[in-house]
Amino acid sequence: MNGFLMSIAYDRWILPALLGIPLAGTVVIWLHAALGGRTAGAAVATPQESAVPAAGAELSTAVDEIATGVAGPARVIALMTFLVEFVVSLGLWPMFDAGQPGWQFAVDAAWIPSWGVRFTIGIDGMALMMILLTTFIMVLATLGSWTYIRTRTHSFYALMLVLTTGMLGVFMSLDLFLFYVMWEVMLVPMYFIIGIWGGDRRLYASLKFFIYTMVGSLLMLAAIVYLGLAARSPATGIPSFNYDYILQNVVVSPTAALWLFGAFFMAFAVKVPMFPFHTWLPDAHVEAPTAGSVVLASIMLKLGTFGFLRLAVPLFPSAALNETVRSIILGLAVIGIVYGALVSMVQTDFKKLVAYSSVSHLGFVMLGIFALTVQSVQGALMVMINHGISTGALFLLIGMIYERRHSRLIESYGGIARVVPMFAALLTLVSLSSIGLPGTNGFVGEFLVLIGAFRTVPIFTVIATTAVIFAAAYLLWAIQRILFNAFNNPENEHLSDLNPRELLIMAPLVAVIIWLGVYPAPVLRRMEGSAERFVNVVQARASSRSRVVSAGDIR
């Protein structure tokens, strides 16, 4: 296999190809829309299909539906593109050399030479897993919107494709300028996805999402300019935004490091989201269409923690490991873990429950990162993947039942295991994996975080452990109320069980849940190197930094 991949120079074109394929798909959809595809789409709609109102339907007038088509071929183009993307990205798995330090599959090209901006991309173990997670989830998210998105499908799938490029770009970027551009590129498609195809309060939710993220990222922009100028070449004055170069050569004063870390922290903490900055998340999740929720939960939240792992902590270890700063962040992480779990328990809206559970899970990731042992960081990476799988699966299941019943309220259901046994079985399994039952993927990550973190920050860890119990409480209680209580709502009598397409979506997710629960070693092995390097770099830089405290300001 590797021989074949080498023979086609896979390692040299794969990363640009992953960025380019979704854009190519966008262009195809765009051309299709422009060249009269709109009317063709309308013809596909059967009367039966268009009779069922979709979430975004209230937005569109009858005119729109004729103009934009109901389902149309856009979804087929998108699915094909995502399938190609996924298959192509699979080659990364065998080709990735877990033993080799440094960036793999790297590509470096000039972009804006006048400003020292380069198109530098490359991946390490954690980026590898995040990229595979992204390409995997996007296929399922597309299938999950197959019948859910009925209006303006061309635009919807085009935005999904562009969004993918943005997300993958963030995971690959090794140039801070490029990183920022990709970071912002993700923002607009998600804003439109929530704002156009979302629920009743979509305008509020989408604006909140945009403003929160944008304020955070503008601060990051200021910090990136500062770093780029600090790394400017003395001879020519041209800045450098290269990640490795900045990591090795830029020395900033402790005070400046605190400010810069603060700027990065705001950008990433909003995205994670950490405890006091999380309020956009429930709104965005609840209002977003299924695919939007899935992408938000599975991938976009990880970009925040990924940012901490890639930029904020390694670049400014002296600030990140400053006793006060670290205690505050660990404190916020643990508050997030417990608070998220407790708030989940009292939710009446199932989607909101899962949204708050994300706050709790991502708190574990933050705990793992800032506990700073190889085990806890590996655990954090595992939680990132597992949360992507399990929560993505939960949102997909919620979307499936919502399409049938148009309610996300837990009280609308009850005892529906009898009418939709397949749905009930899958929801139970996925919930158990989200709780972290041994034998499912959820267990591996949280367990690693807890044992890893216990060595360095025992008190925080002990408090965080309680949330594992709360997690069992809120999810089990919720599925009890949805699936198993007395069947008391006649409206649920005619719910249909999952159809083949929906089973097709869930099958790979279930397979991954079991696989990672039983045999996570291949994944862990690939991420071990980057986790170790992260811990080493941070500790080495933090200790060397104490020696060069007097190195002075940026100049």
């Binding site: 006048s114 400003w115 503008l218 100028l229 004055g237």
Partner: protein, 527 residues
């Protein structure tokens, strides 16, 4: 014909001085011929269009002349006008704006039944004044350019004789403009009194100081502040922008601003570096006030032209940040910003023009509701333009790079302008409030029941829209060529001693105010 142009123009010789003004003279001669042609026949829509097209041809000829000069890297001796790449780059931006204005104006006049062909001639005359401003290396030429530009634009603002608001705006613009010109003239007089010179480089070399000189600079600051609409000299802008025909508004918001900023910057960098510590706090204060107020008041606008007026005030603040950097890199950032801003502004006003009902004069934001469902491509273009003005990467095209360059220049200055950058970043976040509001209204709200479809726009308007949006998007991916051009177009400062006045200037070689003095032809690599 062998018209041998010297590599270095000797401006003391009338013939060579005239030769150095060739592009300006092409435009002026064209305007003179067309004003006769416009008067020759009675006003009619057809005649209006013909003169409009002829004006476009004249502008293109001028552009060719400018590009010829730009590519050959001429320079000149000390004199009333500058022969450098800064002038030619600013001219390119001005002529681009003129071209777009003429294209919009032809359609605009048709729709509003303005049959005055002289409107196009007025645009050409105003542009001649602007080109003089870009060339001016003498305060008297600055004054000449300002007057030629302003008087033509006063008339343009009132060109729609049937509109009361147009008349109101024009009168307001005229009175306040005359008032500001008085400030400018008084400032010139005081500076002359303090230094005995009106030539910018002579003033700079004199290293003057003292109250007379500083008051003179303050007067000039007020005069220029009016022309580029900075707070607190911005009061006229919303009313005038709202009242004027869309094409003229775009012209005022982008091109007039470009020319005024060019003269502003050249005067400040060449004549007043010795007073840096005196004017710098004032410029910083004005820049902060402009960014904050322009963007904050923009949040409350319901009329799209007024919203764009406040947005343009906010952008004047951002451009002032580049000026406050006090470096030639700041000048390069300013040209780049003005170019991108010109494209975005003309795109926006092309949309306003396309959506305006005959006689309505403007568009309310509510009328944009659900625009996506009836005019999807227009809505898409508007979204790109809004994101460009917001400074968003990729989707907003080069808007992000423009802001980035300003930030970079401000931080890379020998005296890093951290405060200004923080304000710039924060006010950018504030401006997201109204730029996004437009996008929200277009894409996420239903179209108002019973609202008729927007009228079909003219071909030229559509060309302007497509061209500006496409250019913005392309430059948003591959900006390097234009960055190189603007870098080559930074002003070349004279080798006068500045160390006495600005100790910081000696620290950074490349970005110091006493930069290299040789004129680099554009073909030469930038660094």
């Amino acid at each position: 014909m062998t018209l041998a142009l010297p590599a270095v123009f000797d401006l003391s010789k009338p013939l060579q001085l005239t030769a150095a003004l060739t592009p300006d003279l092409v435009l002026m001669a064209g305007a003179m011929i067309l004003v006769v042609a416009a008067a020759w026949r009675p006003d009619s829509p057809r005649h209006q269009r013909a003169i409009g097209w002829a004006s476009i041809v004249v502008t293109l000829l001028t552009l060719i002349a400018v590009i010829y000069f730009l590519l050959h890297g001429f320079s000149a001796t000390l004199g009333p006008i500058a022969v450098d790449n800064f002038r030619w780059m600013v001219d390119v931006v001005i002529l681009l704006g003129t071209l777009l204005t003429l294209m919009l104006a032809i359609d605009d006049n048709d729709r509003e039944f303005i049959t005055a062909p002289e409107s196009h001639v007025l645009i050409l005359l105003a542009s001649s004044g602007m080109m003089l401003l870009a060339a001016a290396r003498d305060l008297m030429i600055v004054f000449l350019g300002i007057e030629l530009m302003s008087i033509s634009v006063y008339a343009l603002a009132g060109i729609n004789r049937r509109s009361i608001r147009s008349a109101e705006g024009a009168l307001k613009y005229f009175l306040l403009g005359a008032f500001s010109t008085a400030f400018l003239l008084y400032g010139i007089a005081l500076v002359y009194g303090a230094t005995g010179a009106t030539n910018l480089q002579t003033i700079g070399a004199s290293g003057a100081s003292g109250p007379l000189f500083y008051i003179g600079i303050a007067m000039l600051l007020i005069g220029f502040g009016f022309k580029v609409a900075t707070v607190p000299f911005h009061m006229w802008a919303p009313d005038v922008y709202d009242g004027s025909p869309s094409a003229v508004t775009a012209y005022m918001a982008a091109t007039v601003k470009t020319a005024a900023f060019a003269a502003f910057l050249r005067a400040w960098l060449e004549a007043f570096p010795s007073a840096f510590s005196a004017w710098h706090p004032a410029v910083v204060g004005i820049a902060i006030a402009t960014m904050v107020l322009g963007n904050a008041i923009g949040l409350w606008q319901q009329n799209i032209k007024r919203m764009l007026a406040y947005s343009s005030i906010g952008h004047a603040g951002y451009i002032l940040v580049a000026l406050a950097a006090g470096t030639t890199q700041g000048a390069s950032a300013m040209i780049f910003y003005l170019l991108i801003y010109t494209l975005a502004t003309f795109g926006c006003f092309a949309i306003v023009s396309a959506l305006t009902r005959p006689g309505a004069g403007t568009v309310l934001l509510d009328e944009l509701a659900g625009l996506w469902s009836v005019r999807p491509w227009t809505a898409f273009a508007m979204a790109v333009l809004m994101l460009a003005l917001l400074g968003f990467p990729i989707f907003g095209g080069a808007g992000f790079f423009a802001k980035w360059y300003v930030i970079q220049a401000a931080l890379q200055s020998p005296m890093p302008q951290t405060l200004l950058v923080v304000v710039l970043v924060v006010t950018t976040a504030v401006s997201a409030g109204y730029y996004l509001y437009v996008i929200r209204v277009m894409f996420m709200r239903r179209r108002v029941e019973g609202l008729p479809l927007p009228p079909h726009s003219g071909t030229l308007t559509q060309i302007v829209l497509v061209a500006t949006v496409a250019l913005l998007l392309v430059l948003g991916v591959v900006p390097d060529f234009v960055i190189r051009l603007t870098w080559a177009g930074r002003p070349q400062l004279a080798p006068y001693p500045v160390s006495t006045a600005r100790p910081e200037a000696t620290t950074g070689g490349r970005y110091s105010i006493s930069g290299p003095t040789t004129v680099a032809p554009i073909s030469q690599p930038v660094r």
